[in-house]
């Protein structure tokens, strides 16, 4: 039946061109500002210098002691361990808080007190508890990712259309059935939002954790760049943090679109 044919909407050409233009313009301007001497090279490295260092760092461990990919790999491992742990704890907790009165009553007050404390403030305690190894950093990253997971999952459940819940009740659905069949799926867009936000938080806190206590990782590389007075290394570390974060964000966006075919228009 033609009336129900699926229609594909194509991205307009302009939306394909403009991002390329804006990125190109950004790098050109940056290069120009440094090359022309408006900003001295001791304060900011030009993109071409950073690119050069990028190629060098793929092969040489000097002067910071590890290859670029080793730094990146360590960071990714830390970030993802912390990230997945925060998803594993935060999302179920938030979902439960949104629907089950007991969970909300018990967890909400504690959560509200912990929530405003920036994860960076936990670093000293973390060093007492775990030293400067991997567990400590993962703990900081985990804390950073936890908050958006809990909040989004909680709000997602709270936003479940009450008429849908009434509808399910008239069919005799139990609390657990309503939670599983209505609240959880209807919170999914918010939960997927949390995946993005939590990742950003984890990634941010990763750098913070590594700045203070690490011997490898992108954050550590940035610190080393400062110590060695090499702005190009600082910028390379920052760009790598940005790019890696963006790539992961795109992957999550793809997964989200696939899974939520019916919910998103």
């Amino acid at each position: 039946m033609t009336a129900y044919r699926e229609v594909r909407v194509r991205t307009p050409l302009i939306l394909k061109i403009l991002p390329v233009v804006s990125i190109a313009a950004f790098f050109c301007l940056w290069e120009f500002v440094v090359r022309s001497g408006i900003v001295p090279e001791t304060m900011l490295a030009a993109p071409s210098t950073v690119a050069e260092l990028f190629l060098v760092k793929l092969r040489e461990t000097d002067p910071d002691g590890a290859l670029l990919q080793q730094h990146a790999w360590v960071s990714i491992q830390e970030a993802f361990t912390g990230y997945f742990l925060s998803l594993a704890v935060g999302i179920p907790l938030g979902l439960a808080m949104g629907w089950f009165v007991v969970a909300e009553g018990l967890a909400r007050p504690v959560f509200e007190i912990i929530r405003p404390i920036p994860p960076v403030a936990w670093i000293p305690l973390t060093i007492f508890w775990f030293g400067i190894g991997l567990p400590g950093k993962i703990f900081i990253i985990w804390l950073g990712g936890l908050v958006p997971c809990v909040i989004n999952a909680y709000v997602g459940v709270k936003m479940t259309n009450p008429t849908l819940i009434q509808m399910a009740r008239t069919y005799g659905a139990s609390d657990w059935q309503i939670f599983r069949q209505l609240c959880v799926p209807s919170s999914l867009p918010m939960v997927f939002g949390a995946l993005q936000i939590a990742l950003a938080c984890c990634w941010t806190n990763l750098v913070a954790a590594e700045l203070l206590a690490a011997d490898m990782g992108l954050g550590f590389m940035i610190t080393m760049g400062r110590r060695l007075a090499m702005p190009e290394m600082v910028v390379l570390g920052m760009v790598m943090v940005g790019l890696t974060g963006a790539v992961i964000g795109i992957v999550i966006d793809r997964v989200e679109k696939k899974l939520l075919a019916g919910i998103r228009r």
């Binding site: 009434q166 009740r169 008239t170 069919y171 005799g172 059935q177 228009r265």
Partner: protein, 252 residues
């Protein structure tokens, strides 16, 4: 055409139904019976507590007094097959049309084989077979309401409550869907309580009309509609009943 009103077995028995919100008495000692397979419409002035009345019947809200019995047992959504079609669409956006229609049966624990069989029948009856695989955001508003109606009929309800299901649709579509509703009811033999503020609609679909009074709500009158189907809006008897019900509502 099916013989209407043949059954005299009481299906629903409502006695002294009372509902208060704090001091506000909304439902005042309501009594009525509905026969098995009967189609009853409920009309009343705006704000007379029609929705409260329906919510009380479906046990969505606790009642303050009296009782509602289905087949002689106190009504309970977990035990009885009660279906409710709401004024606003209630499709689950993450389920396809087919899975939406199946939802009520899934909650009721109907075996999968039986679900498939009933789905096939009911989707065919309401003409949803073609778009069974689509998601709710891909079909029109009237389609959403037909999904809700199909889902309600699919559980073979002991009692089907409808709260102005077509209130938000345009006139032409309404006629069409009312015919479809009557057709479903005739084929499946469910007991239907249909709330509407549209008197013409009530006369068109129902075998009996209960007229509610203003708050505190009581049943003010009962009007039998014994007209052949499909009914004709211009039939003098149809017009007479419509005017009669209108008068009843006006005279509070």
């Amino acid at each position: 055409m099916l013989q209407e009103g043949g059954s005299t077995r009481q299906k629903i028995e409502v006695r002294n139904l009372t509902k208060r919100f704090g001091d506000l008495l909304v439902l005042d000692d309501i009594n009525f019976d509905v026969a098995d397979g009967e189609f009853v419409a409920i009309v009343g002035p705006t704000g007379c507590g029609k929705t409260t009345f329906l919510n009380a019947l479906s046990r969505l809200i606790p009642i303050s007094g009296g009782h509602i019995r289905i087949d002689g047992q106190d009504a309970d959504p977990k035990r009885h097959n009660i279906s409710f079609v709401f004024q606003e669409p209630t499709c689950l956006p993450w389920r396809t049309v087919r899975d939406n229609v199946a939802y009520g049966m899934e909650v009721k624990g109907v075996p999968q084989q039986e679900i498939d069989a009933r789905l096939e029948k009911i989707l065919e009856l309401v003409g949803l077979t073609q778009c069974a695989g689509l998601y709710p955001n891909q079909v029109s508003a009237s389609m959403l309401q037909r999904i809700a109606v199909s889902r309600a009929f699919a559980v073979n309800p002991d009692l089907l409550l409808m709260d102005e299901p077509y209130g938000q649709l345009d006139v032409k579509l309404r006629f069409y869907l009312e015919d479809e509703l009557v057709n479903l009811w005739q084929k499946l033999g469910s007991t239907v309580l249909f709330i509407t503020h549209n008197i013409e609609e009530a006369v068109y679909v129902a075998q009996r009309i209960l007229v509610l009074s203003n708050k505190p709500t009581k049943i003010k009158a009962e009007v039998k509609v014994d007209l052949p189907r499909p009914r004709n809006f211009l039939d003098p008897e149809f017009v007479r009943i419509r005017k009669h019900v209108t008068e009843l509502i006006r005279w509070w």
